[in-house]
């Protein structure tokens, strides 16, 4: 879809207009770029669904806020994996850093104000993302996979080393946070938490949507599609990657902070390899590089996990493995990609999608 857009847009800006065809092409490119970030009606659907859940399933809102936290986490991964094409197995590191910023703040420093906790988590995780990204993003492929994976596990081991401070694998149980904005107490059914998570998700989502449709987002897509060409046209590839990695780390930190606040506990398992793998699976099942893939993938995965793992955890694990294999073989662009294919089939329109 976006294979030639960044370069198309670039050439439209720098080359002098020669003839009518070039002008028309330039207009088309500009029109396309402008139209991309326009709000579409279908985009209201997931948000309406979230609001409907609040009224339809009042007794499942605690689970609902867990889903929203994972949507946020998957969104942070979509930003770097789906848009910038950075394949990482260590996104849980930043989720964990955010979770522990809030957890340690509450348990050790008495910082129990939730909203400022989110900001603190964002900045601490973003700082960690900046430092590690600056070192790691020079590498690609297996080396990058191993480096990100090792970083996340090292955080876990470091937490275990300082277990007197961090609580080790027993974690920090029974955290107490101030009422939200000083007014809203946390109720037994998790209604406050659900609304809180939904509002945070909406704010971050708007922020991410602005990023991916900005020229900066276009440049990221360009790096994903053809990194050599982006170097050739003078794009500061490394800094762009570090920037987006930092932002995504911050968002993962916010997701982790929300996780701690809504659960009122945190343990070192947030740094697990499984956590990184799980969020990637969610994103892949939903569809990468399309924002709402994170939404759909996380929701579908969490609901299926909740249902099937009660029946039989073994069966669920087998099922998720099979789903992954089938997704790679038959639905490389996720569930949303499948929808689009069906849509294209019915409107008799050839999909213009270009696979990376």
């Amino acid at each position: 879809m976006a294979a030639n857009d960044p370069t198309g847009a670039q050439s439209a800006i720098v080359t002098p207009v020669r003839d009518a065809a070039a002008t028309a092409a330039r207009d088309r490119a500009a029109e396309y770029l402008v139209s991309r970030h326009r709000f579409r009606w279908a985009e209201a659907l997931p948000w309406l669904a979230c609001i409907a859940v609040f009224f339809l399933f009042p007794d499942r809102l605690t689970f609902g806020s867990q889903v929203l936290v994972m949507v946020l986490f998957a969104l942070s991964l979509d930003l770097i994996l789906g848009y910038a094409g950075i394949v990482t197995l260590g996104q849980a590191a930043f989720f964990g850093i955010g979770a522990y910023t809030v957890g340690l703040g509450a348990a050790r420093l008495g910082w129990t104000e939730p909203v400022s906790g989110l900001f603190a988590a964002f900045f601490v995780a973003a700082l960690a993302g900046f430092i590690s990204g600056w070192f790691l993003l020079r590498y690609r492929g297996l080396t990058l996979l191993m480096l990100t994976l090792a970083t996340a596990i090292m955080m876990q081991e470091a937490g275990n080393l300082g277990s007197e401070f961090s609580g080790g694998y027993d974690g920090l149980p029974g955290l107490v946070f101030d009422p939200l904005l000083g007014r809203f107490e946390y109720d037994l059914y998790g209604r406050t938490n659900y609304v809180y998570a939904l509002v945070v998700l909406a704010v971050v989502f708007y922020f991410v949507r602005r990023i991916v449709y900005s020229p900066f987002g276009q440049a990221l897509t360009g790096i994903r599609e053809n990194v050599r060409r982006m170097h050739a046209i003078g794009s500061p590839v490394h800094w762009r990657l570090v920037t987006v990695y930092t932002i995504a780390a911050g968002i993962a930190g916010v997701a982790g902070a929300l996780f701690t606040q809504t659960n009122a506990y945190v343990t070192l398992t947030v740094f697990d390899f499984e956590n990184s793998a799980k969020v990637m699976v969610m994103l892949i099942l939903g569809g990468t590089g399309r924002l709402y893939g994170a939404f759909l993938g996380a929701a579908v995965y969490m609901i299926m996990e909740d249902y099937f793992s009660k029946l039989s955890p073994t069966f669920w694990q087998f099922g998720i493995g099979l789903l992954l294999v089938l997704a790679v073989l038959f639905a490389r662009r996720g569930v949303l990609g499948l929808f689009e294919q069906f849509g294209a089939y019915f409107t008799k329109e050839k999909s213009k999608g270009a696979k990376p």
């Binding site: 994996l81 191993m146 470091a158 073994t314 493995g321 789903l323 992954l324 997704a327 790679v328």
Partner: protein, 290 residues
């Protein structure tokens, strides 16, 4: 003998045994990744499968430990050919991400299958008498199983080194790792070569899985738990390099054992620290091509 010397010898001995396990299990992964650039996260699942076959053969059929190891290696080698021809082949040209997802999906399925048939509780194997005792060297006694592991490891390294460096087929593999297209254009059947090395690598992984039971116990999570270690050995050693894999296995085996002897609370911290330092300095590993 002074105390520190005893500790040093113990670390070297246990570290060497551990390194042999790491080498045997990882070397196949290294060569297949070097040949095809295929990220195979299901490698740990092949090792686990080998381990469970050994458990079944020794416990249910009463076959000896060493013959069971050989049977498990051959069986898993054959099964891996089916996977390679049926699934992996379709994704050689796909992105890293797709390969990661496919193979991690396979690993999940393998773990679930193993849990279904064997349960989540770690298994052990009955060892023959000559592997059960200790070898007493005066100042300290060493478990003879670990001594066996070291001897077996050295023997396998010699055989692999000879096959890799001195035979026709080894030369072809090295050529294909260096430059696949060139190797193909001079008439080397790289596809067939890859199937062969893949089968051999999986068979060695299965052997490693069988050998690991006595060291760590075998539970279904083995497939993912130790996979990270195998990947680290491969990445630190350099893709497709026998020498590199051996060096990385030695470094990681000895340092991890040393860390556990001297500073047990740190857990796996040292391994990951070493990995990051080595990869930051040499992104392609010790003997990888930049």
């Amino acid at each position: 003998m002074p105390q520190f010397a005893i500790i040093a010898v113990s670390i070297l001995f246990d570290g060497l045994a551990y390194a042999m396990f790491l080498f045997i299990t990882s070397v196949g992964l290294s060569v297949t990744m070097g040949l095809m650039g295929f990220v195979n996260l299901a490698h740990g699942a092949f090792a686990m499968a080998g381990g469970y076959i050994v458990v079944s053969l020794t416990r249910d059929l009463g076959i000896g430990f060493v013959p069971s190891l050989l049977i498990a290696a051959v069986l898993v080698g054959l099964i891996s050919v089916v996977f390679e021809r049926g699934l992996y082949r379709r994704l050689y040209k796909a992105t890293d991400l797709e390969q990661v997802l496919l193979t991690i999906g396979l690993a999940f399925m393998a773990i679930a299958t193993a849990t279904y048939f064997y349960g989540p509780i770690p298994k052990s194997v009955p060892l023959p008498l000559w592997l059960q005792g200790d070898i007493n060297l005066g100042f300290r006694s060493f478990p003879s199983y670990r001594a066996f592991l070291i001897v077996l490891g050295i023997a396998l390294i010699s055989v692999l080194w000879y096959a890799f460096e001195r035979t026709n087929i080894g030369a072809k593999i090295r050529a294909a790792v260096d430059n696949r297209r060139m190797a193909e254009s001079v008439g080397i059947n790289v596809d067939l070569l890859f199937t062969l090395t893949f089968a051999l690598g999986s068979a060695l992984a299965a052997l490693g899985g069988g050998l690991a039971i006595q060291l760590f116990g075998l539970s279904p999570s083995f497939a993912v738990l130790y996979l990270v270690l195998f990947l680290i050995v491969v990445a630190v050693g350099g893709l497709g390099s026998l020498k590199g894999t051996l060096l990385a296995a030695l470094v990681i085996g000895v340092i991890d054992t040393g860390g556990k002897y001297l500073y047990a609370e740190a857990g796996g911290f040292f391994i990951y620290a070493i990995t990051i330092v080595v990869l930051l300095i040499k992104p392609a590993g010790f003997y990888g091509r930049e």
